[in-house]
């Protein structure tokens, strides 16, 4: 199953914790900063919703990239 298919399935199953992981993985698979930021924002948003253990890490990462307060 491709990463894209895994993401779609996790959305379908409302597996938000898994989405946090998968969107971070997606961020690693792209080269442009804008694309990375997009996927990290996706991961961060679901991390906020489920109070994921990665939430602070993701927030710090986005702040350091200048895309989050």
């Amino acid at each position: 199953m491709s990463l894209n298919e895994k993401i779609l399935e996790a959305h379908q199953n409302k597996n938000l914790s898994l989405l946090v992981e998968l969107y971070q993985e997606a961020a690693k698979n792209v080269s442009k900063a804008e694309e990375e930021n997009f996927f990290l924002v996706q991961a961060y948003t679901f991390a906020l919703e489920v109070s994921h253990s990665q939430v602070l890490f993701l927030r710090r990462e986005l702040v350091s990239r200048g895309v989050e307060e």
Binding site: E34, E35, V41, L48, S51, L62, V67, E68
Partner: protein, 380 residues
Amino acid sequence: MDNLELVRQHVSKANGLPNEHYITQSMFDEEKNSIIFNQWAGLDVCSEIPKIGDAKPLNFMGLPLFIIRDTQNAVRVYQNTCRHRGMILVDKPKKIQGAIRCPYHSWCYSTEGQLVSTPHIGGPGQNTDKNIDRSKLSLIEIRSHIWRDVIWVNINNNARPFDEVMASTIERWKELDQNLYHGGEDGKFSLSVKGNWKLAVENYCESYHLPWVHPGLNSYSRLEDHYHITEYGSHSGQGSLVYKQLSDNKGQKFPDFENLSEKWATGAEYIALYPNVLLGVHRDHAYAIILLPVSFSETIENVHIYYSKPDVSPSLKKKNKDQWKEVFEEDIFVVEGMQAGRLGVKFDGGRFSPQMDEPTHCFHDWVAKEVSRFRKQNLT
């Protein structure tokens, strides 16, 4: 003299509220604004959201709200509307684990109401925009107060402080102000009534109907064992001098609240706290009924029963619930019958028994006073 002035005369001379207060959308809307949203009204009970993160949406007379227990264990009430595109945020009872995420564009709010993230607001991968000040886009919190587990709300944020408005009842029941333990699934039920919400209040206030509508109750709690509780401008109800504790086949009873005075050995009191909360207290249990007006001719009655200890006998608890349900169901035909009767175009609001109907007149007087005040304010 206009119709509302007729209502505000002495009980011996007054007429009741005119028909239009029961059968028209315009009066339903006016009362919503003048006497529900301007006062401290009952919304729900804290026991419905017992754990941190529990959230529940509610429609309160057309206003979308949700209640939530925040990370500090405080119960809060918010308008259930995202500050972005107005989307409903909480569509069913759920556990909020972290942030409240809008399902539309994923704006995220803390359980304390702050807007904590605005994904992609500045374009893909950019969560900020210089024109968007998150601190000014918190959830809209509704002024609320907790007393006897009831979540009271003052939607228009203009009432005097709750403790001030309800001071006399708080003082009256001071010794009963103890921990209340909700009876759980066997401590609650709902009734749907095809009647205006005020008719449920009126019927609750008075004991006049007991021998006719509740003959079973009247067999031990006779009409002459009751007294009126009437405070014009505030609340009304009735008290009983012969409360009899429920017991099971082993003679087991509910444990009492602690250190009560002799009055409560056989005493019970039932007060309507205007506009829409009906409370009952006894030595060993209490209840709260929250009336949710659905339309001018439909009301939901949510009943919650409480005990002095968390682990009371399940069978006795069920027996108590069934007993109260039977009593409240006996009242339904009265409320629905009065609603139907209000379609009689020549009905003049009715006359009161000066001896028996003072608690009901007290409520009508309050409604008339508040509606008149609202009209005068809107004219100026």
